[in-house]
């Protein structure tokens, strides 16, 4: 069989295995192993795939992942989340839809220490939705806000999915982390504009809160110093070239662990946090190994090179192809989870996009943004399911209805990222070595 055809068949089988419920990591690995076996024999398949786990694990760059994940789980136990929400509520509560805006703000703060979208959505469903309901907020708006707020975790450092992207395409983790900051802030600002517009049009959706004394507002800031310290260390350390991403994550973890300890975290909680960290780390590494075995098979078929060649010979402008890719991610996001999308698309699409002259760091941020939009679009918007899972009394349709106005905002954000790549590349380009 023609190797390129075999490559296409491999991709098709991978989609089929993922859809029928085989874990993403194993689905990618089995296709990779099967393909290598078919093309080069069983010994080559075993030999090539057997090296991958050790070779990948002994990468210094990857050591940033467990630390970022540990920061997230320890932050939960340190009570940082609640402090961030209370501070945001006191400062922003009087604005139109103030509690909703405060939720977005606090989600961004929590994202800065967690890096995981669904965890952020789950935490704020417990924390912010009851408070918004108590103050007479529309339930769909409240649910929509927490689902959308969770997506900020993918862009605001430390973002685990940006790290995974960096490893899969061999790009600088430090540059990727810095690249996510401004798009993350823009996303946050646009979500706030959406809330303001929605509430101005229908003030009954979000009654305004009573005024708060300045002294109380100032006091609340003492609750958020942990977040500021972690963000400052990670971004400052990487930006000014004082630390590698791993070192900055090590200091961030130490800060969060110290805060958790001073707030009375018990040994059993530390144990639980570490077990969750290890479980998530193992899951991500399994995915990375699976993808790398699959990519080795694809490279033997020559299929990615053929696709790149075909794309380069298309008689259309590069931006048309880029629009096609964005549309593809939008459609895939409706039925696939983020890691599945990365695995299926990057080995084939990434070389073509780079050959067209687009920046790999910028494309990484765009891809991650599209994946996050996938987390809130029906029918498989995972964040919406998490909200519904934590609060089964809020129907799924209501969550999706609450998210709908924010999807308009997402279109604006993607347009900004595409039209002004500088917003993504400014920080990494000025980063000091």
């Amino acid at each position: 069989m023609d190797p390129v055809t075999l490559g296409f068949i491999g991709v098709g089988l991978l989609v089929a295995l993922i859809v029928i419920g085989v874990p993403v990591a194993f689905a990618a690995a089995v296709i990779g192993i099967g393909g290598l076996w078919y093309m080069r024999g069983i010994d080559t398949a075993i030999g090539l795939s057997g090296i991958v786990p050790h070779a990948t694990s002994t990468s210094y760059e990857l050591s940033v992942l467990p630390l970022f994940i540990a920061i997230g789980f320890l932050a939960l136990h340190a009570g940082i989340t609640r402090g961030a929400f209370q501070a945001a509520r006191l400062w922003l509560g009087r604005a139109p839809g103030g509690l909703a805006t405060a939720t977005i703000f606090a989600s961004a703060g929590f994202s800065a220490v967690s890096g995981a979208s669904t965890a952020t959505a789950a935490v704020f469903t417990r924390l912010a939705v009851p408070e918004m309901e108590q103050r007479g907020y529309d339930r769909a708006l409240a649910a929509g806000v927490v689902a959308v707020g969770g997506t900020l975790a993918a862009l605001i450092p430390p973002s685990a999915i940006l790290v995974i992207y960096g490893i899969l395409v061999e790009e600088s983790i430090g540059r990727l982390l810095l690249a996510g900051i401004i798009p993350g802030i823009i996303s946050m600002a646009i979500y706030m504009v959406v809330i303001t517009i929605v509430v101005k049009r229908n003030p009954s959706l979000a009654p305004s809160l009573e005024p708060v004394r300045m002294i109380e507002k100032l006091k609340s800031l003492t609750q958020v110093w942990g977040i500021l310290a972690v963000v400052g260390v990670i971004l400052g350390g990487v930006y000014f070239g004082w630390m590698t991403p791993t070192e900055s994550a090590a200091v961030g973890t130490a800060i969060i662990l110290s805060i958790a300890a001073t707030r009375g975290m018990r040994l059993v909680e530390l144990k639980a946090g570490l077990l969750e960290t290890v479980k998530t780390t193992a899951m991500i590494f399994m995915v990375i190994w699976g993808v790398l075995v699959f990519v080795r098979f694809l490279a033997f078929t020559g299929m990615p090179a053929m696709v790149t060649d075909a794309v380069l010979h298309l008689e259309v402008a590069p931006w048309v192809i880029l629009m096609g890719v964005i549309l593809l991610y939008l459609v895939m996001g409706m039925v696939l989870d983020g890691l599945g999308m990365l695995i299926l698309t990057l080995p084939v699409i990434y070389p073509a996009i780079i050959a067209l002259g687009y920046d790999p760091i910028w494309f990484g941020v765009l891809v991650v943004k599209m994946i996050e939009i996938g987390l809130i679009t029906p029918p498989v918007g995972l964040n919406c399911y998490v909200v519904h899972g934590v609060r089964p009394d809020i129907p799924l349709e209501q969550v999706f209805r609450g998210v709908a106005p924010f999807l308009v905002g997402e279109v604006v954000i993607v347009a900004i990222l595409v039209l002004f790549p500088e917003v993504v590349l400014f920080l990494p380009d000025t980063m000091m070595n």
Partner: protein, 194 residues
């Protein structure tokens, strides 16, 4: 009387939790090493000798020691859009087939990484800075995949048992019914999807 599968499951789970906790302790080692490196390099112009070697070799245990615990708690990301919509015998037949695919991969990776270990053992390589023998970390890989294979065998036996008699409950496989194309993990604060 306890079902033999359950006894095996509990014994293996103890081993898996132990491995995962060792892995978690190594995460803290990486944290301490990173902090010490910054202090040593930044304040005293004295970086830790062998810092990179320590991190790289430690990472093998961090990445590998949790793989079986992750599978035991159904932590591997997968889509349950189709399988979650099934029930009874078809559901458990599908689970068994999916787990068989996982077992095949785990066995191939175990064999391949064992070969890799044998080469490291025979050639006798070591790390660049402080000469840690590389066979130690290469051995951790097939050992971890062997434990993962044992876990998958238990899960397959359990899935087949329930498929044969759909009125019984699974003993080894944690039940989750998300059925919406999401990560098949417990939902809550511990949920993680990027």
């Amino acid at each position: 009387m306890r079902h033999p599968l359950q006894a095996l499951h509990e014994g293996l789970l103890r081993l898996e939790i132990g491995g995962a906790l060792v892995s978690g302790a190594f995460v803290l080692v990486i944290m301490l090493a990173g902090c010490a490196e910054i202090v040593g390099r930044g304040l005293f112009n004295a970086p830790i000798h062998g810092y990179l070697d320590i991190i790289e070799q430690t990472m093998v245990a961090v990445a590998l020691f949790g793989v079986s615990y992750c599978q035991a708690t159904l932590g591997n990301v997968r889509m349950t859009l189709l399988i979650g919509a099934m029930s009874g015998r078809p559901r458990w037949v599908a689970e068994a087939v999916s787990l068989l695919v996982c077992l095949f991969v785990a066995l191939i990776l175990m064999q391949g990484s064992w070969n890799h270990f044998l080469r490291a053992w025979q050639i006798g390589g070591s790390t660049a800075e402080i000469d840690i023998p590389t066979w130690i970390s290469t051995l951790l890989v097939p050992v971890s995949f062997a434990v993962l294979s044992a876990r998958l065998v238990l899960q397959i036996l359990d899935a087949v048992r329930v498929a044969v008699n759909p009125d019984t409950d699974p003993l080894v496989i944690p039940v989750s019914d998300h059925g919406h194309g999401a990560a098949d993990e417990p939902k809550g604060d511990g949920t993680w999807t990027p």
